[in-house]
Assembly symmetry: C2
Homo-oligomer: 234 residues x 2
Amino acid sequence: MKDISNMDINDLSKDLAPIISNTMADVVEVRLREYLKKKSFRPGDALPKELELAEALGVSRNVLREALSRLRMLGMIETKKKRGMVLARPDILGTFERVLDPLIIDNSTLQDIFELRLVLEMGLAELLYIRKTEKDIQELENIAKKEVNLDNSFRIKNEIAFHGKLYQMSGNDTLKRFQIMLLPIFDYVVTLEKKPTRGLVNHLGLVEILKNGTVEDFKKGMQAHLQPHFDRLK
Amino acid sequence: MKDISNMDINDLSKDLAPIISNTMADVVEVRLREYLKKKSFRPGDALPKELELAEALGVSRNVLREALSRLRMLGMIETKKKRGMVLARPDILGTFERVLDPLIIDNSTLQDIFELRLVLEMGLAELLYIRKTEKDIQELENIAKKEVNLDNSFRIKNEIAFHGKLYQMSGNDTLKRFQIMLLPIFDYVVTLEKKPTRGLVNHLGLVEILKNGTVEDFKKGMQAHLQPHFDRLK
DNA sequence: ATAATTGCACATGTACTACATATTAATAAA
DNA sequence: TTTATTAATATGTAGTACATGTGCAATTAT
């Protein structure tokens, strides 16, 4: 009975959703999530002890601990030896970081992330003009000035420093951390290309706009600066 | 000896990094990561069996499985009953989704994510103008037209549909999924506010620009549309 | 000899027991 | 009342045992 045609299988799969062999740990993880939500635990609240949870769920302590281990990795719970477990605030980006490796991400997603960075930098303008300070602009200018006579390897570092400073000036820590994580991906994609490209507006130009120009000027400037990257999209 | 002043502790902590009580599972997780990287495993490659790994690391199978459970949750490894474990491609956003709950994210991060959404929508323009099609614009217009005579609850759904369509038109799946995840957060922040706000440019206006205007026109339009949100920032 | 079937070997999944460790709480001593 | 010691207890780790299901090989039938 091995020669069932693909058509038959597809027809069947419309009516019969495939049974995904969830392991107990998977199920327990979901159940614990639901439990935490339903009881609307707040960070700091104590949880029942392992044996109670295991018994309530009808699984071995082993399985329960595998599920707890996952939540612990995400920072959702913390455990002290005798006090038991407490709900904690997960670091939303910390978990993200764990899977952000250019080597294991497929090319399509790499491209998406590359574009995501472009979108972020283009959208930064409003925040920048709301929160920029004289001091920040001065520091940004110092970075931009440094790069005039640098060889190639150092220029890349400076490029990162400049754009990183922009994110920091946005006053949004999550955004800043996000950018740092995306950097390796961005680098990876850029280095896949043959020749280094250069936009019509350089870093000093952007600083000049930040000093005396309007938000719209800055958007145009950033667009021109990133133009080579946009040109590659389709 | 309990009355050491905070100053003393802070001074010390500059020189002596606190010892974070890593559990074995934490260590094993890191070691496995390093191992996978060092051996430069590719997706699909088979891993040694649990007993071998446990023995090599000098830990019980129990501890090893807690670490493996984490990697499995992230989608980094998959296991088939007899075949053993194989390296897999993690879903970079799947892990993110697990910790994105407005109730457990602190207010500062909530605000950051709210701003992140604004940044994304402002930065979308370039991608939109590179990839928009007649068909997409038509669909977008249909969504915008529907909302003219809708009561409040349905208008919110339509609002989501409209902006969601914009992300979809960007042709960037990761971005689109990202937006869907951020939606609950965004909603949460918006509903914290008193009165619903409305921008100078409405959805139909944005569609009109997409049809006949330039990228710069669209950026200005989107800026006007989101202006009430930007006004709240400081 | 080839194809199909059956059965065995083996890796993972789950359960249970046992003990180490650390921390809180209670008790005893000063 | 304060300090020191001890006991209780929840998590951390190890080890054993067995269930389950899959791939491979041996066996049988054509």
